[in-house]
């Protein structure tokens, strides 16, 4: 088994534009799918499912969404936390209003609602760019959190001001609520991830993705080839927010179960997801996964090694984590703006030529 495209000739344009042009990659992908759906649910204990795998999958969705907006379309957003909150509250309101409808539909609908809100806050992007757009999305972030705190209708007038997820089932198996088995929640998240990643891949390799990238790389040239900039940007806001909204709905319903909006969806969330795509790789599907994995696994790893094994104090370990993330962001921004995904690509390019370097 060599990592080669030789002997793997493409005889049609359709084959040439497939997602994994190299057979080895394709097999690796199917193996990962099999592992994720059929093997891991039996192997994972509750701790790893809850502390690592579920948050990884949910953040991967959020990172995919933000990457569409920032990495593919070049529109910076600091509102991810706020849009996740929209998804969470939409899901909560829907499932409490229509408890008989399957939660999966509510999660999808929450994505659609968030897409609408995203378009609304994306409207200024026609006029403002870069730093100023970032500030506008930051305003959206604070406004949305404030809104969900202040308007009791959103949390069904509960005394605590929190929202909490009632038990919901899929195929008769609880996936949310107190009685849920971790593997059930995991499988729901995994199914969403696979579907959404595949859709993101399809969008970014086709006409829509080219419009986004054209706007990102040079907006005047995009206009001259007939791209309507406002429409292209708003589509990016819509699709991106759809993903982020679903991530928010899952974060609330499957992962946390109960949410206080400022705590769960504050500005730190926006930055965390942004850091994921910077470290993982802007404009890369794989990078969204790599970044999410890194940001989720790092604290767990630090806790296991520094605190549990070496006996360092917890707050020191937390500071070290922040320093690592900060340093990596600076390094990646300066040296490798395409993140871990690009390092991976370069490694593969080397491997393809190995052992003959030319």
């Amino acid at each position: 088994m060599f990592y080669r495209e030789a002997g793997d000739f493409k005889t049609s344009y359709k084959d040439d534009s497939q997602t994994f042009p190299i057979r080895f990659d394709r097999r690796g992908y199917y193996a990962a799918l099999l592992l994720g759906f059929a093997v891991l649910p039996f192997l994972l204990n509750d701790y790893w499912t809850n502390a690592v795998f579920i948050p990884f999958l949910i953040y991967a969705i959020a990172a995919l969404g933000l990457n569409i907006l920032v990495g593919y379309c070049g529109q910076l957003s600091l509102g991810t936390g706020g849009f996740m909150a929209v998804g969470a509250y939409a899901c909560y309101k829907l499932t409490t209003a229509f408890p008989d409808i399957n939660i999966v539909f509510h999660i999808l609908a929450a994505g659609v609602i968030t897409a609408g809100v995203g378009v609304l806050f994306g409207l200024p992007s026609l006029r403002i760019k870069g730093f100023y757009l970032a500030v506008a999305t930051l305003a959206a972030q604070f406004f949305l959190v404030w809104l969900f705190n202040r308007v009791p209708w959103f949390y069904n007038y509960s005394a605590s001001g929190q929202i909490s997820m009632p038990e919901r089932t899929v195929f008769g198996i609880p996936v949310t609520g107190a009685q849920v088995a971790p593997w059930a929640g995991y499988l729901v998240c995994l199914a969403f991830v696979v579907l959404l990643a595949w859709m993101a891949r399809n969008l970014t390799r086709g006409a829509t993705g080219r419009k986004w990238m054209a706007i990102r790389d040079m907006d005047i040239a995009a206009e001259i080839i007939g791209v309507n900039p406002l429409r292209a940007k708003l589509t990016a806001f819509a699709v991106s927010s759809f993903y982020v909204g679903i991530a928010g709905a899952l974060f609330f319903s499957v992962y946390l179960g109960a949410v206080e909006v400022g705590e769960a969806f504050g500005i730190e969330k926006s930055f965390a997801v942004l850091f994921m795509i910077i470290i993982g790789g802007l404009g890369s599907i794989f990078g969204s996964f790599a970044g999410a994995a890194f940001m989720v696994v790092l604290p767990v790893l630090i806790k296991l090694v520094l605190v549990d094994s070496w006996g360092w104090p917890t707050d020191l370990a937390a500071h070290i984590r922040l320093m690592i993330v900060g340093a990596l962001i600076i390094i990646f921004l300066i040296a490798e703006p395409h993140g871990m995904a690009q390092l991976w690509r370069l490694a593969k390019e080397k491997l393809r030529l190995w052992p003959f370097p030319h």
Partner: protein, 273 residues
């Protein structure tokens, strides 16, 4: 006189030139106090290669920008296909069948050569977002269909070997060629080229001249081009507009323009790189 045959004429080398495709009428364009274009009128005929020449800062690029909708002139009218064109955005102009290249290359550096050229066909790709996301039937068929057209242009411009290369890594001359490919991919009625040969060596210029002639000949594309190299202009173009300080000082066949005293004084007499 050309005006004597509104239905068109046949060139010395036997190409058929049709009626007027685009007409600029009394265009005046100001930037604050600066008059970039002063009361210029000229037309471009169907099937023609029309050159716009003039010293640096004469207003040539500004004129292309008026045609492609980047600048809205304070005075004057733009007529296309015999109809007066209302002021429109560049992307609307593109959809009317006008494509262009830029004086300073304007490619999408983060994308491959193939993807850059594919963007030229975006206006023709109609599948909805949903169908694209699911990559079902229509989306996939459409992608393949347009890919075939683009591959023909890639063959035509002899850039097969760099198909998958990110545009940012290409040398200058090839970038110019890719930009031409992207414009051609749109199958434009009118192609605007802003200094397509600037900064090229002799060999690259020859290639580019050949491509321009072939485009005009094979696809019947009408071409308006700005160029400083007088040799190239005289070889390529059917008619030439000469601009100086925003004014039109000459208009006619290369031979007529060459013999025009005002042009000799203003342009050919001026030392030029």
């Amino acid at each position: 006189m050309l005006d004597a045959n509104p239905e068109g004429y046949t060139t010395a080398d036997g190409r058929k030139i049709g009626g007027v495709l685009m007409e600029m009428r009394n265009i005046t364009l100001r930037f604050g106090g600066v008059k970039a274009i002063t009361d210029i009128s000229f037309d471009i005929r169907e099937g023609e290669i029309r050159a716009i020449i003039g010293p640096n800062g004469a207003g040539k690029s500004s004129m292309l920008n008026v045609i492609s909708g980047f600048y809205v002139p304070q005075e004057g009218e733009v007529w296309f296909h015999g109809q007066r064109r209302a002021p429109m955005k560049p992307y609307e102009v593109a959809r009317q069948g006008i494509a262009r290249t830029f004086q300073n290359i304007a490619l999408f550096d983060g994308m491959s050569v193939l993807d850059n050229i594919m963007t030229g066909r975006l206006t023709m790709m109609k599948t909805g977002l949903f169908s694209q996301a699911l990559w079902w039937g229509r989306a996939q068929a459409e992608e393949t269909e347009h890919r075939e057209k683009v591959e023909r242009i890639i063959d035509f411009l002899e850039i097969q070997s760099i198909r998958k290369t990110p545009v940012g890594r290409l040398p200058y001359g090839l970038k110019k060629r890719v930009e031409l490919a992207r414009a051609l991919a749109a199958e434009p009625k009118l192609l605007l080229l802003d200094e397509p040969m600037a900064g090229m060596n002799v060999e690259e210029k020859e290639d580019m001249s050949r491509f321009i002639l072939d485009v005009n000949d094979e696809f019947g594309t009408t071409i308006a081009l700005i160029e400083h190299d007088m040799g190239v202009v005289m070889d390529l173009s059917d008619r030439v507009v000469v601009m100086d300080y925003g004014k039109k000082i000459g208009d006619g066949t290369p031979d007529e323009v060459r013999a025009n005293q005002a042009v000799i004084d203003a342009y050919l007499g001026v030392a030029h790189d």
